[in-house]
């Protein structure tokens, strides 16, 4: 593999400035995953879809990405591309939500789609989350594939009745008669002084609902792939987007690709420590990693992507290698993804751990408006660096 192909990613997280981040697409990441785990991915029959996705990735050869292959795109547009492709491919795919149609979506994820597919396929709903989510569920039960957008994920709390009782349960309580192929998505997470209610971290709220799958996107590449996978899934899927990541730029393949909903993504191979993260924190971890690498550490960074269920294979293989785990999440400390992940790691990989699995989570506080307090609410790169050093120096 050419050294150039292993080049570090150039990344400026959105949060640090008003300019958007740039992620240089590295095909070597995909290669590494296949090689490090003995190529099992292509062997497992249940992973046929995955190998299809691998083949579709641009630059699968060792040649580095050139300016000619793939196209640069911002994350919100990658989501839109994925959605548009699925809508073109399958006429039963439709979108409903507030301002998704004529307005093009509050974060422009549905921009242009109403003009292309019509007002019924990209339905502007009145402001009634519980009811239009339920309507999306009823439509899905009877044959459509609905994508329900919460203008901000926090608004989906109003739809909790429908998400828990109907999206999660109806396949079960109907004895398997009805399937609910809905995708429930929207921008969430802590933004830039948007205030407590627009800055909610909802991963833990829906986590326990049986019958739901949850994925979080973090780059244009995985955003598009996960959007497509979520739409094609017959399960109800919650797709977590982050309000500050929509302007991330990356070069993604021109060919069609669909990612696996249940798989984690190896972002950076390493041998010293396993860092598990998702969504915006992935970028903070990468930023911290630059410093850590300069100081001689070699972290393995995994974007878990699938918040429910966890990809215990990718995670386990990493822990078996490094024996140390740090989870970095934006979710609250209490009952969050990190809490569940630590339990799963202890249950499954106890014998491989040198120390307790550590977790950096956001504070159990309603996101304050003031900038200093808001910064203190979420995990910052500096904290990640300190924690990793402590762990690798045996101080904790």
């Amino acid at each position: 593999m050419a050294a150039a192909a292993m080049a570090q990613k150039v990344l400026v997280p959105c949060s640090s400035s008003s300019s958007c981040g740039k992620v240089q697409f590295s095909p070597s990441r995909v290669h590494t995953q296949a090689i490090a785990f003995g190529g099992e991915l292509s062997q497992s029959s249940s992973r046929k879809n995955k190998s299809l996705a691998l083949k579709a990735v641009a630059g699968e050869t060792s040649a580095p990405v050139t300016a000619k292959s793939g196209h640069e795109i911002l994350l919100f547009d990658a989501l839109r591309e994925g959605l548009e492709e699925e809508m073109a491919r399958d006429p039963t795919v439709c979108v409903m939500g507030e301002d998704v149609g004529h307005y093009g979506g509050s974060y422009k994820v549905t921009k242009g789609l109403a003009e292309k597919f019509g007002d019924l396929r990209v339905l502007d709903t009145p402001i009634c989350e519980n009811s239009f989510t339920g309507m999306g569920i009823g439509a899905a039960m009877t044959g459509l594939r609905t994508v329900v957008e919460g203008m901000n994920m926090g608004f989906l709390l109003l739809a909790y009745n429908q998400i828990s009782n109907n999206a999660g349960m109806l396949h079960y309580t109907s004895g398997g008669q009805f399937k609910i192929p809905v995708v429930i998505r929207g921008p969430g997470g802590v933004g830039k002084q948007l205030g407590a209610e627009h800055s909610q971290r909802l991963e833990s709220y829906f986590q326990s609902v049986p019958g739901l799958q949850m994925v979080a996107c973090s780059t244009p590449y995985n955003a598009k792939g996960l959007m497509k996978a979520a739409i094609r899934s017959d399960n109800p899927v919650i797709l977590y987007e982050h309000v500050l990541l929509y302007n991330l730029k990356e070069r993604i393949p021109d060919e069609e690709y669909v990612l696996c909903l249940e798989e984690a993504e190896l972002v950076r191979p390493g041998k010293d420590i396993t860092i598990l993260t998702y969504s915006r924190m992935r970028h903070f971890v990468l930023q911290a990693a630059k410093t850590l690498v300069e100081r001689g550490y070699d972290p393995e960074i995994i974007d878990i992507r699938s918040l429910k269920p966890f990809d215990l294979f990718t995670i386990g293989n990493s822990i078996k290698k490094t024996h140390k785990v740090l989870i970095v999440e934006e979710c609250m400390r209490t009952g969050g993804i990190g809490a569940s992940l630590r339990a799963a790691i202890v249950d499954n990989f106890w014998d491989f751990l040198d120390g307790r699995p550590e977790c950096l989570s956001s504070q159990d506080v309603p996101t304050p408006y003031a900038a200093t307090l808001e910064d203190a609410t979420v995990v910052q790169p500096a904290q990640i660096i300190v924690k990793v050093e402590q762990m690798l120096q045996g101080l904790i």
């Binding site: 009634c128 109907n166 396949h171 309580t173 398997g176």
Partner: protein
């Protein structure tokens, strides 16, 4: 608003109409196609179906308040020649369906007290006219959506009594494999979308099914799809947000749906008049731009008339209708409800209006059936219900291995295990013996 504009909308849409009390005047009835000639031979009272929302004010026919009368107005029985409401076949079908509903629910009470069924069981006794009147006016492809009081809706729609009883017994042969229970009856084959325990949460689901019909016709261009959806729910639900939100959306997009309110005046122990600022639920249709109709829900023929009109209206694309059926449940809210708050006077008032007794009388008096015919039906139903109990009793309980089978339509949703395989591929997992 001229009658011609109504005619151009294929007319005969619905407006607030009163079934109890004196018959209303016929001003503007020229906009109605033939309907004003019909009457319910049963009580001689008219059900007036006339011009729709907004325009009724222009015609000066503001309907007045519903008042439940002490006893139905009795007029001399009309001549057989006047009767055009049901044929003998239809009449027997309706009778059989109501008898099935009543007999089945009575058997449920027995079985519950014999510890064959458990939990919360909500019986439908007294409300049979609504289910029969509406559901028997549907086509097979039409959808219905119910609440926890769903046994009889399921039976009317065609779900076999055996499957419903098995479900209630919690057996693997139940319509939902024993996983739903009394409050969650579903049938894909018979287009029953549930069975919901929380009030109001089924209304959006029904609205979604209606949306699907519109989508199928307008986006997928499949004009063979013309399914209408009925959403059944009670008076308590009409104070819930999802009710109002869905009325708004359905009217906005002219969805092919009928919202059927089974107003039995009680939400467990909460009297409708203590809970509702404007108790006339039918009036709320107009606030959302759809016809709101009130009908005597103890009279299966009246319900059926209104049902046919509302369903036809939906099917031709004119949009939703809100129908309030005045009805009553003879038993408590559920088998666990001591039913101490309802006064005997009220119960008696509705007991004499038993829809089955009344329809039986109608059939006999109008020569549509003989005593022997009706006895034969009752016997047949008895046998069906007995058979359902025997079948349910003999059916197996669900095995442990069934526990996780229907959590996900795509079982890859359980994720990838440490060994790299999907957990659903692990035989221990699917046998229900693996640790989750």
């Amino acid at each position: 608003m001229a009658a011609s504009s109504l005619a151009s909308r294929a007319v005969a849409s619905l407006s607030p109409s009163i079934s109890t009390g004196a018959s209303r005047d016929d001003a503007g009835s020229s906009s109605v196609v033939g309907f004003h000639k019909r009457s319910s031979a049963f009580t001689g009272r008219r059900v007036r179906i006339s011009s729709g929302h907004g325009s009724s004010a222009a015609h000066g026919r503001r309907s007045c308040v519903v008042a439940a009368t002490a006893a139905p107005v009795k007029e001399s029985p009309p001549k057989i020649a006047d009767i055009e409401l049901v044929t003998r076949e239809e009449g027997l079908e309706l009778y059989e369906d109501m008898i099935l509903g009543r007999c089945f629910e009575d058997m449920c009470a027995q079985m519950y007290y014999r510890s064959k069924m458990f939990g919360f069981v909500h019986l439908y006794n007294g409300q049979e006219a609504v289910s029969t009147g509406f559901v028997k006016a549907l086509k097979k492809d039409d959808y219905i959506c119910s609440t926890y009081r769903d046994h009889v809706h399921a039976l009317s729609k065609g779900v076999p009594a055996r499957q419903v009883m098995s479900e209630l017994f919690g057996k693997a042969t139940g319509c939902c494999r024993g996983q739903g229970g009394s409050m969650h009856m579903f049938s894909k084959e018979h287009r029953l979308l549930g069975g919901f325990a929380f009030i109001g949460e089924g209304i959006p689901v029904a609205t979604g099914a209606a949306f699907n019909t519109k989508y199928s016709r307008e986006v997928l261009k499949d004009l063979s799809v013309d399914a209408v959806t009925l959403a059944f729910f009670g008076d308590g639900t009409c104070n819930n947000g999802q009710f109002f939100e869905c009325l708004n959306m359905a009217a906005l997009w002219k969805l092919p749906i009928v919202y059927v309110v089974e107003n039995n005046l009680w939400a467990i122990g909460m009297d409708h008049f203590r809970a509702t600022s404007v108790p006339e639920i039918w009036k709320k249709g107009e606030a959302f731009g759809m016809p709101g109709v009130h009908v005597d829900g103890m009279d299966v023929l009246k319900v059926r008339e209104v049902a046919k009109e509302a369903i036809a209206r939906a099917r031709r694309g004119d949009g939703p209708t809100l129908v309030e059926c005045e009805t009553y449940r003879y038993r408590g809210h559920s088998l666990a409800d001591p039913d101490e708050l309802r006064k005997p006077e009220q119960k008696n008032k509705y007991a004499v209006r038993d829809p089955i007794a009344a329809f039986k009388k109608y059939l006999l008096e109008n020569g549509l059936a003989s005593e022997a015919d009706l006895k034969a039906i009752e016997k047949k139903i008895d046998e069906i219900v007995e058979d359902a109990v025997e079948f349910a009793d003999a059916s197996p309980l669900p095995p442990r291995s069934q526990l996780l089978e229907n959590v996900f339509a795509d079982p890859r949703g359980f994720g990838i295990g440490p060994d790299g395989k999907y957990r659903c591929e692990d035989p221990a997992f699917t046998a229900g013996t693996a640790e989750v």
